[in-house]
């Protein structure tokens, strides 16, 4: 099981690497380097470093066009990476701390990996890079938009001074811009239809010249190169590259939740290390913004663990769904096996979750409840619990003080339904009340806001 999981993680990271290289980010490390970075190995630091700095350079390429990309000056690189990370809101001590590292070697590979995770998760960098790349390969495939990377759109695009005159003027400028933008969009549609026509004609010409070439676009060899021009070859290459990138992106999207699970384990291992190291040399103000939280901070850890567990459950669920759908497709007999397997697996997961919940629940109960709005998991209903299990496993059901995942979920769902009902009723009452009040005022019509 453990081995299978690690294989999967490797697969996930490989799919990420594939996508990144498809997006033409240079110097992608191997999946092995990621694994080493998790354990803070020194030999992975350089790989992670070059990945992070290249990625940030791409992300901020729009903002600092003057930046020298092939800069071998590591001090400059360090400065750039630190300020870029600061710009994305990443507050690790080596970025924000009062004593910045003077050399790259001082930054551990795990710190770099964590920073990489942060950059990946803030904004939608990958989506943006993908859109940019697709736009490069296929100018007409997307509507004209304003490029937007990690930095979000600035409001001061149209500067306006004080006074009414200025607002009128900006309004007009805005209207004119909207008109021009609409015109561009319409012209883009025209170009798209021209392109479509072009491809239809190309297809017709090729299928007239040699019917087999049109039917088999992947045909290679002398026959193929004889009948098609070099321009067509280029076109084909372009389309294939585009397809490869889009496929890599889809593959990554499928595996993405697992990657974040793995990143969580990276954070865990980093937390475990911190508890051994004395964190006294940071001023208290800095500590608040770091990812590392002090060991004694129980509620926060509890919430983190809950989050993590939720993510894991969701990932499992999704994987199971995919697994099941593929199995259904393969064969009827396989399906039965799958359901039996998944039953066993579900029990396993439930057991595991129960273990987690218990570990979380018992020592931390007071800490969690005292902070108010955190979820409080109650276990004082032994009379209710037994009949709620599908599978009467006596060992689990009978154990007092243990909380089952299925029971907890059912409980929460029930509570949600009750709250929802209460909310609906309150809303209804409010509406009736409002209407009653409104009807007493003459000449007032209440128009609800537009839905969309």
């Amino acid at each position: 099981m453990q081995r299978e999981k690690s294989v999967k993680v490797k697969e996930v990271i490989t799919s990420l690497c594939k996508l990144l290289s498809g997006l033409s980010i240079e110097s992608i490390p191997t999946a092995e380097a990621f694994r080493r970075a998790k354990f803070n190995r020194e030999d992975a630091a350089l790989d992670m470093w070059s990945l992070l700095s290249r990625l940030l350079q791409r992300a901020f390429a729009l903002d600092c066009a003057c930046h020298c990309k092939d800069s071998k000056d590591f001090d400059m690189q360090l400065l750039f990476v630190r300020s870029a990370l600061w710009h994305c809101g990443y507050g690790a001590p080596w970025v924000l701390g009062p004593r910045p590292p003077s050399h790259i070697d001082e930054v551990g590979s795990r710190d770099l990996l964590l920073a990489f995770g942060w950059v990946l998760s803030s904004g939608n960098l990958l989506d943006f890079l993908l859109a940019e790349k697709v736009h490069q390969l296929d100018v007409l495939s997307s509507a004209p938009t304003i490029p937007q990377g990690l930095t979000h759109g600035q409001d001061d695009a149209v500067t306006c001074g004080p006074g009414e005159d200025a607002t009128v003027k900006t309004d007009q400028v805005l209207q004119a811009l909207q008109w021009q933008c609409g015109k561009l969009r319409l012209q883009w549609k025209s170009l798209l239809s021209v392109q479509e026509e072009g491809s239809k004609f190309t297809h017709r010409v090729i299928s007239n010249i040699s019917p087999s070439a049109a039917r088999q676009p992947h045909a290679t060899g002398s026959h193929h190169s004889n009948t098609t021009s070099s321009a067509l070859d280029k076109e084909l290459e372009r389309i294939q590259a585009l397809n490869r990138i889009l496929e890599a992106y889809l593959d990554w999207k499928l595996h993405e939740p697992l990657f974040w699970c793995w990143m969580d384990s990276v954070i865990d291992s980093s937390l475990a290390d911190v508890s051994e190291v004395e964190p006294a040399d940071w001023p208290p103000g800095e500590r608040a913004v770091t990812v590392r939280c002090p060991h004694s901070n129980n509620p926060r850890r509890a919430v983190r663990r809950l989050d993590k567990m939720l993510l894991r459950l969701q990932t499992d669920l999704r994987a199971r769904r995919i697994e099941q759908s593929t199995l259904t497709l393969t064969s009827q007999g396989g399906r039965q096996g799958a359901s039996r397997l998944s039953d066993r697996q579900r029990m396993e997961v439930e057991k595991k979750v129960a273990g987690y919940l218990e570990g979380l629940h018992l020592p931390n109960t007071s800490a969690i409840t005292s902070s108010g709005f955190l979820p409080c998991l109650q276990d004082q209903q032994p009379s209710k619990t037994p009949h709620r299990f599908h599978n009467g496993e006596p060992g689990l059901a009978g154990t007092a003080g243990k909380l089952q995942a299925s029971a907890a979920l059912g409980e929460l769902r029930e509570r949600e339904a009750v709250l929802q009902w209460q909310l609906d009723r309150l809303r209804q009452n409010m509406r009736v009340d409002l209407q009653r009040q409104a009807s007493t005022i003459d000449g007032v019509v209440l128009i609800p806001p537009i839905k969309r």
Partner: protein
């Protein structure tokens, strides 16, 4: 390159048939080989037996009008409708928009969509989807709106131009204003532009200009088809000054409706008269254009009875000099000239910046198309497609009448029983109020 048309409901099917007849007649006139070629490619395809078949899909919930249209088309001997391009049912929508939109539309979407897809796939290049429908009834407006929505989802990158016919102000159907409000507010979100014909205007043209004593629906539809044909037939444009333009709807839209808040287009056409008097009339370009310009600024529906006292004033003047009547301000205009000596026509009268909003340069808001081929029997003819305040008043009327009925909740239960809630009505009213306010602020 082809334009796929959709004829929706009784009105849409009648107008559609007239439109194809006008186009076919016009293209078969003398000395117009390239013109005919371009027009044929645009509206028809050639069947395996060499017949011209209209690129059109006919949809109605009743069979009568469709079978009439198909029969008349094949009797013409020049063109016909496609064998599998019509869809009809036994039971109409009962003039209820909600019935069309919530019941008939979803029930038959697949069949209709398949037909449209067939027609679209037949085009090497889809120049746009052109739908024709009325807003008063149930099928055209309700099913039409639903189908437009489906088409927008399936073809997000294609042009969709909706032609709609507004009902008589006096009223054909008691709930026509409800239907209009619901149709307009929905189409405004979906369509690239909405080309509006008012029955009242067309009726007046028939009685005053064409001198028709016993008017039939067909006469009215002929006028609408004439106006539409004068826009959609081949012409030389700024983008293609030497060849007939291959992207008519695209160019129409990008010269008139680039701004998402302003999508209502009106059409006026000059001259229009009975064929009997046409033989004894002579026209010159300066006279025609002078009249057309005054029709634009005075917001006149037809050539007769134009108010010549309306003058264009620039913004500063009108404040100090309140004697001037307010004129119809435009966002953008497209002038289409067809006939003899088009190259001599001077269009400077339409380039006055005072006609337009201050935030657009005149070269952005005025464009001209022309063609030396005389259109539909008129030696010279000029058509103005205008994105202006022209439709503000009739739109305001419709919304006001509908609101008055809605305020007392009259007939609303007929809609709620099919799933259109009062909130949907309110949303529609709000959307139309927004449009009215946008157009009001043009001047």
């Amino acid at each position: 390159m082809g334009t796929v048309s959709l004829q929706l409901g009784q009105c849409g099917n009648q107008i559609g048939h007239e439109l194809f007849s006008v186009i076919s007649d016009d293209s078969n006139g003398p000395n117009r080989k390239k013109y005919k070629q371009c027009s044929d490619e645009r509206f028809f395809y050639e069947s395996s037996t060499g017949e011209l078949v209209a690129r059109s899909v006919l949809v109605d919930m009743e069979p009568k009008v469709i079978s009439q249209a198909i029969a008349k088309a094949s009797k013409s001997g020049r063109w016909r409708y496609g064998d599998k391009a019509h869809f009809s049912q036994k039971q109409g929508s009962g003039n209820n928009w909600a019935n069309g939109f919530c019941v008939h539309g979803p029930r038959h979407e697949e069949a209709v969509e398949d037909m449209v897809r067939m027609e679209i796939e037949r085009c090497d290049r889809l120049a746009g989807i052109f739908t024709m429908m009325s807003v008063a009834g149930g099928t055209g407006s309700g099913v039409g709106t639903y189908i437009t929505q489906r088409l927008r989802d399936s073809y997000p990158q294609s042009y969709i131009l909706n032609q709609i016919t507004w009902p008589y102000g006096a009223g054909e159907v008691i709930v026509q204003n409800y239907n209009s409000v619901l149709t307009l507010s929905h189409l405004y979100q979906l369509s690239d532009a909405i080309l509006v014909h008012e029955n009242d205007t067309v009726h007046k043209i028939c009685s005053h200009l064409m001198n028709i004593k016993h008017m039939s629906i067909s006469d009215i539809n002929k006028v609408i088809a004439h106006q539409l044909g004068s826009v959609l037939q081949p012409a030389y444009t700024a983008d293609s000054p030497c060849h007939y333009n291959r992207n008519p709807i695209g160019e129409l839209l990008s010269s008139l409706v680039c701004h998402p808040e302003y999508k209502l287009l009106s059409l006026s056409n000059i001259p229009q008269m009975s064929s009997a008097s046409l033989a004894y009339s002579a026209f010159n370009w300066p006279g025609l254009l002078k009249h057309l310009r005054q029709m634009l600024i005075a917001s006149a529906r037809m050539e007769e009875g134009i108010d010549w006292t309306v003058n264009v004033t620039s913004g500063g003047e009108s404040v100090t000099n309140s004697r001037h009547k307010s004129f119809n301000s435009s966002l953008a205009n497209l002038l289409i000239l067809r006939g003899k000596d088009v190259s001599t026509a001077v269009t400077d009268g339409f380039k006055d910046p005072a006609l337009y909003v201050p935030w657009l340069k005149t070269e952005n808001c005025f464009s001209t198309w022309n063609s030396p081929v005389a259109f539909n029997g008129y030696e010279k003819s000029a058509t103005l497609v205008s994105n202006s305040q022209y439709l503000l008043k009739p739109l305001d009327n419709i919304v006001r009448k509908a609101w008055n009925m809605f305020a007392s909740r009259a007939y609303v239960h007929q809609y709620t029983k099919f799933g259109i809630s009062e909130e949907d009505f309110l949303d529609s009213f709000t959307a139309l109020e927004q449009i009215i306010s946008s157009y009001t602020h043009l001047s």
